[in-house]
Amino acid sequence: MPFRISRLGHVEIRSLDLDRDLNHYVNVLGLQLTGREGKTAYLKGWDERHAYSVCLTEADRAGMVRMAFRTVDAEDLDYYERRLQDFGVKYELIPEDYRRGRALRFLAPSGHTVELYHEMEYTGNLLPTVNPAPWPEGLKGIGVPRLDHTLVTAPEPHTAIQFFQEVLEFRASEILVSSDGTPLAAWLWQRPAPHDIAIVPGRAGGFHHAAFVVDSTDALFRAADILAMHKVRIDYGPGRHGITRGTTIYFFDPSGNRLETFGGYSAYQMDPDSRPITWTQDQIAQAVFYYAQELNETFLSVYT
């Protein structure tokens, strides 16, 4: 089965105060502001080659508006359209969006608006394509290079997990199962990394976090320093997940949306023949927070 999704392309996150929150996303997280239209600002990490990976939209509540996955090829959109039809999934064709081409938009059983698209304006990253340096000077804050993944909540996680696996052909890297073997949570991938999206139990449409790459242990601790300097509320970390082996800092944006710096550098590499790792329910605490070996009181109760 070929891989047809190249990555989580962009997420749209709600902000209670766009100007205030832009300061956080630009000066603390260190994203590049690439556009602003009406109540939405468009941002991206310095190493991303398309116009944006984060849309920040002012609203009367926090949370996620939508997640959008970029297909590998333009034809993959046609493939997925047929697949949505075959599975009887209702969808909308979105002809275009800000600096982006057509998309399929549908509601996943988890209650999240999901889009698939291929075309987005190619801007290049912040480095030249001839004889580039390894990173650009003058980044602000943490200076994250890329969006990595998102984690969302679903009232019936097994149904949502099945949808992403069967209809959208994601593969599970890790599954947390209840004592009777029912999947309670799953980490799902197509890009060769432990996850593009993960699903845990909770409210329909809930946004647990969006994660951005930090690419070394140096960068992890520097990120923690910067968050603390700016008095950002750190939820957990620096630490490490048992699931994915990735390093982590969970923190909140000023509207209360959880963000993460995710250290995929410490995670494993996926192979087309990679098969799922299972975590049992009684080991959930260490699966999530490997060092603390206990869940904090916010991990499964605080999200937007």
């Binding site: 926090a62 949370g63 909770g202 909140f252 209360g256 605490a285 206990e294 991990f299 109760s301």
Partner: protein, 108 residues
């Protein structure tokens, strides 16, 4: 009756509680998740900026407020709620079906 705490103007109720050494459960501190919701018994508040998905107009009329955002403008008497008084971290995974997030669903 509970304890009296000083809360200078400009400080949130949650911040004053935490600074006093109290242990209460709270979440995002951004007005987004609703976990720090408390109830006003008497007094006046500046409610601050918060998500209406976790504090509806009806709840606000019943006296609820988000302690991470609300700042006192007079002496206050407040009451904690189940959401911030006590919570088991592992409940979601140990006892499916899922508990509802406080103040969510029923008010949307």
């Amino acid at each position: 009756m509970g304890e009296a705490l000083p809360c200078p103007q400009g400080e949130t109720v949650l911040s004053a509680l935490l600074r006093s050494g109290a242990r209460v459960v709270f979440g995002c501190t951004g007005g987004g998740c609703g976990v720090c919701k408390m109830r006003l018994i008497s007094g006046h508040l500046d409610y601050g900026r918060y998500s209406i998905a976790v504090l509806s107009a009806a709840e606000k009329r019943e006296g609820f407020f988000l302690s991470c955002q609300a700042k006192p403008v007079s002496d206050l008497t407040i009451q904690l709620t189940e959401a911030n008084r006590y919570r088991k971290a592992a409940t979601f995974f140990s006892q499916p079906p899922i508990l509802q997030q406080p103040g969510r669903d029923t008010h949307e």
